[in-house]
């Protein structure tokens, strides 16, 4: 059976209808980034599942309100042992997931797919900014830690 979605609200409806399926696969991909797949109930698993759901929900909306969720994900990724290219690849993953689901449910709406893909591209770039902010934060922490350790020495030097 071919599912019909209205042109105007198609995207939101489609996402809503398939949210669970997309999210499950997306979360699996994200957790599989780690040397051994990270468990669902681990702290990382819990943060990822909450944040990815928020991000996915925001994709269907006009206003982008997933900044905090995006930060939660990239904050974890930015200190892991894998390179940025691998870390940020998880934001491209939903494209493939979406394509599969569309094929399965026989929805052929290139306009909607294009819109979704370009939204994901924008999201990936936002994730890149956020990832870099966290990398810079790491260097800032190193500097601050040095000053804190030398607090009394610096205080005397400045006196």
């Amino acid at each position: 059976m071919v599912t019909q979605y209205s042109m105007k609200r198609g995207w939101t409806e489609f996402l809503e209808a398939n949210k669970k399926a997309i999210l499950e696969r997306w979360l699996d991909c994200a957790l599989a980034l780690f040397p051994e797949k990270m468990g669902y109930s681990t702290p990382i698993g819990t943060v990822f599942s909450g944040a990815l759901e928020k991000i996915l929900s925001s994709l269907g909306k006009r206003e982008n309100d997933c900044k905090e969720a995006l930060d939660d994900v990239t904050r974890i990724l930015a200190v892991q042992n894998f390179p940025p290219s691998k870390a940020l690849s998880i934001f491209l993953e939903p494209k493939l997931i979406l394509r599969d689901i569309m094929m399965k449910t026989k929805v052929a709406d290139t306009l909607m797919q294009d819109a979704f893909n370009s939204r994901l591209d924008a999201l990936t770039l936002e994730a890149f900014d956020s990832y870099m902010r966290h990398r810079e934060k790491i260097y800032q922490l190193k500097v601050e830690e040095g000053s804190r350790r030398m607090y009394m020495a610096l205080r005397r030097a400045e006196a």
Binding site: P43, I44, T46, I76, H134, K142, E145, Y151, M152
Partner: protein, 549 residues
């Protein structure tokens, strides 16, 4: 159960499809065949040549973990093998820990480094197996005959690299031991492997430089006596500025009743110095006859992360100084591993300290018989006893600008079983205290991720990974209860939790417990207080209006 929990059929499908060491997809390889990769951010700088020379440690040279050739001494295999054999004879516990493990996996997902990295070699069982596999190759004869079944391997340079990486991704916090049905102490395995690595010059400057400084000058940073005094006097001046009270500490005073020893981080670092101000106010408040030593000027003991002999030597210094000054007993400040050393090792290393008296609080008369062997009392026990006997005049409203949670420091919680005393103090000195989740506090507390000498700046990435489970638990109380202050009783925590919070939970500040005590203490002859010890405005005291005094 989480709505995201996978179904059995999905798990089976995933297990069938995904390669895994569990089902032999690496069948041509053993688990140890996957080489370790050192890159910037995942290794600590090695011990400097002059530091090793000062300590008389093996193999001083210029090297880096990223080098292909680590310039090990020619007979390094013999040194490690003989070193392991002699330690197996000396420490029955080590032999027991190596033989007793049945690989049940109860520890596997309890390690904060495993939870933060997903790296299987960070499962405590597998970390111990890094040593056990070598032990089995050299040891029991039957196992040697059954080689191939026993999971044994030869000691190679690759093994040394693997040891260096993974025994420096263990903070000796012992959370895994809590869940081990045999009580295997993986921290002691880490301690022993680091001791073996030091025999061939595979080491960490962030551990050895403090050890060398402590060995020579008396404290981690190598602060000399006059500077040590200047620092504390400068804090005393600050106290007088804020409160109008002269706390008047004494140094190296013979015949004082109590020698007070705290981690030197409380004398030089931010935010440790505010905790020091809290101690000084407390001692003034109760009129304690105490002195501070400029020689035993360090409570911390990085010897514990180096070798048994070094731990013993640095611990002995505190007792030598107590003897020289002729004090009755020792009072120890807020520190973590110092208390594991004192509580679990001191008595058989350097004790019993018969020349001292069993500590008795001069204010309440409480006899601390729990410290009858070591003669050293933890300041949280001491203060909790004072509060219990209503000997302190406290105004918890002065901490109303802080909404607190408490981080149990691994070594105080698991190493000496102290859970209630700090909580009892905290409830008396502030009005807002919210516990983190049950499985992340008390004996199940998560480490800060930087303990056991891993607090190096160059190691920041790994520290943030290892500290994530702790930070995540703080985030929950931050979101739920608007917690803005993480209170702790460990100097390494005070140094390492600020960056951890700044990264994962911006807006949460780190406090020592006695800093809050210092804020709340109503001192005799004090002036109107409007700010706390950090000169932050206290809620409700902005105009100095609401102060009862």
């Amino acid at each position: 159960m989480s709505k995201y929990a996978p179904k059995l059929s999905e798990l089976k499908k995933e297990f069938d499809e995904k390669p895994s060491v569990l089902k032999g997809d690496y069948s041509a390889q053993e688990w140890w065949d996957r080489p370790v990769e050192f890159r910037d951010g995942n290794w600590c700088f090695p011990g400097k040549q002059e530091v090793l020379a000062d300590l008389g440690f093996a193999n001083p040279r210029k090297w880096a973990a990223t080098d292909e050739d680590w310039q090990l001494p020619a007979d390094w295999q013999k040194t490690i093998s003989e070193g392991l054999q002699s330690r197996l004879k000396k420490y029955r516990s080590l032999k027991l820990f190596l033989d007793a493990c049945v690989r049940c996996g109860a520890c596997a997902d309890k390690c904060h480094f495993f939870l933060g990295t997903g790296d299987p070699k960070n499962m405590p069982v597998l970390r111990a197996e890094l040593l056990r596999s070598v032990y089995r190759n050299d040891f029991p004869l039957v196992e040697k005959i059954l080689k191939g079944f026993s999971g044994s391997r030869k000691l190679t340079k690759a093994v040394i690299k693997e040891w260096h990486m993974y025994f420096h991704q263990c903070t000796e916090c012992r959370r895994c031991s809590v869940f081990c049905p045999f009580g295997i102490d993986t921290a002691e395995i880490t301690m022993l492997v680091r001791e073996l690595l030091n025999l061939i010059g595979v080491n960490n400057n962030w551990i050895l430089a403090p050890v060398s400084n402590c060995n020579r000058t008396g404290n981690h940073l190598g602060i000399e006596p006059h500077t040590f005094v200047q620092n504390i006097m400068s804090l005393a001046e600050d106290i007088e500025d804020h409160t109008g009270v002269n706390v008047d500490p004494t140094f190296n005073r013979k015949g004082a009743e109590v020698l007070f020893i705290t981690p030197s981080g409380d004398v030089f670092g931010d935010p440790g110095v505010y905790t020091m101000m809290g101690y000084l106010l407390l001692f003034k408040h109760i009129g304690l006859d105490y002195t501070i030593s400029t020689y035993a000027s360090e409570g911390g003991n990085f010897g514990m992360f180096t070798s048994n002999d070094m731990m013993k030597k640095l611990n002995a210094k505190m007792y030598h100084e107590a003897k020289r000054l002729g004090v009755k007993w020792l009072l120890g400040g807020e520190c973590g591993h110092m208390w594991r050393v004192v509580h679990q090792y001191m008595n058989t290393m350097n004790g019993p300290a018969d020349f001292l008296e069993v500590p008795v609080s001069p204010i309440t008369g409480t006899r601390f018989s729990n410290a009858s062997a070591t003669k050293m009392v933890h300041i949280a026990e001491f203060t909790a006893d004072l509060i219990h006997h209503k000997k302190l005049k406290l105004d918890p409203k002065r901490n109303d600008h802080l909404r607190t949670t408490f981080h149990d420091s691994c070594n105080v919680a698991r190493g000496m079983g102290m859970f209630e005393e700090p909580r009892s103090i905290l409830r008396s000195v502030c009005n807002s205290f919210h516990e983190m989740a049950e499985d992340t506090i008390r004996e199940k507390t998560f480490c800060c991720g930087s303990g056991s000498g891993l607090n190096a700046e160059e190691y920041m990435d790994i520290r943030m990974r290892g500290g994530f489970p702790r930070a995540n638990a703080v985030k929950q109380v931050k979101d739920r209860h608007k917690v803005n202050s993480l209170v702790t009783i460990c100097a390494i925590d005070r140094a390492s939790l600020p960056p951890l919070m700044n990264y994962w939970n911006p807006g949460v500040s780190v406090y020592g417990l006695h800093e809050l005590v210092g804020n709340a203490l109503v001192m005799q002859g004090e002036k109107k207080r409007t700010t706390d010890l950090r000169e932050n405005t206290m809620a409700g005291f902005e105009d100095g209006g609401d102060d009862d005094e």
